[in-house]
Assembly symmetry: C2
Homo-oligomer: 205 residues x 2
């Protein structure tokens, strides 16, 4: 059984990772979307095990101690992380897994999964990212400045990624990410491996 591919979709806060991931889910239902663990309170309609695994702070810190998280970060006073076991099991079952995570987390995953595919979602421009961050609501100028400072720092991590996808339009961005996943399955080494594993040669996608 050939391992599935691990795809890490990341990028600065406000770039629209969640929206692109939701579109991708419809387009590629055969891919497994990892569910994060968090200590933040569930919002209306959020279901434990579907949107997040909701944990107490104590439970989360226990997971950190047991090395049960692929990556984690603290953000605005709450922990967010990716349970490792689910990802390992799904990949071993030959299924692709997508992690939609923050850039700090992505760098942690890279240490553990150097063969994962790293996709950085880019805003069409920094001006556009500023508008998205500003347009979110009634944030103060100071909050906007801090967020833009963080986003600019996060953009610098692009160099550690394999691919950069501009989120100018959701369906176009989704098609690019889908193309990257299909292309990665067509890499010669992967096809040769699956060819020696099966008598008939077949791309996965």
């Amino acid at each position: 059984m050939q391992m599935g591919l691990l795809i890490v979709l990341s990028g600065p806060a406000g770039v629209g990772k969640g929206t692109v991931c939701t579109a991708l889910r419809k387009r590629m239902p055969e891919i497994v979307y990892s569910v994060s663990a968090t200590t933040r309170q569930p919002r209306a309609g959020e279901v434990d095990g579907v949107n997040y695994f909701f944990k107490t702070r104590q439970q989360f810190e226990q997971m950190i101690k047991q090395d049960a998280l692929l990556e984690y970060a603290e953000y605005v006073g709450n922990y967010y992380g990716t349970p490792r076991e689910f990802v390992d099991q799904t990949l071993s079952a030959g299924k692709d897994v997508i992690l939609e995570i923050e850039v700090q987390g992505a760098m942690q995953v890279k240490e553990r999964f150097p063969n994962a595919i790293f996709v950085f979602l880019l805003p069409p421009s920094m001006e556009e990212l500023k508008q998205r961050i500003t347009g979110r609501g009634t944030e103060s100028q100071q909050t906007i400045d801090i967020r833009m400072g963080v986003a600019t720092k996060e953009m610098e991590l692009l160099e550690h990624y394999h691919y950069a996808v501009v989120n100018d339009e959701i369906e176009a961005a989704c098609d690019r990410v889908r193309s990257i996943i299909i292309a990665e399955h067509c890499r010669k080494d992967i096809v040769i491996r699956s060819r020696s594993a099966a008598s008939a040669i077949g791309n996965k996608q």
Copy 2:
């Protein structure tokens, strides 16, 4: 102006390179398809400059001498080759070019364009390739054996390629090649280069 990508689509004789290329042409009309030069006689309906550049043997050998061909080979007594100037000009104009060529020619292109994207079209199985070669018409057993021997040798060149695409079904194979081209345009280095070339960041596809 950023250079276009050179995509080399190759694979053993009988695998269906032409059919996949025709499907891709409809799917990606924005890509330029290189026209080969040949010394073989035009078939009914073939137009000079569209299907091939039809050359005399003397003209072709002149092109070889002048290093005007990216690659060439002799096949069943006729020359086939790729005029270099058209490819160079189209790439310089920022457009992608596809070469649909035999495997020997592809290896010549690799020496001149190490940055080209090499895609190897695979039959679903060697058994299937044999059926396609046999099913072409009224070939003798000897001809079939020779062709299978050549095809088996050609398959060994797969290791020099970046991607392997199984031609199990034309539209699926076409979608894989399209995905590879889009993914290659999303490579981080390419996006960063185009980002420094333009003020707004934008993927090409």
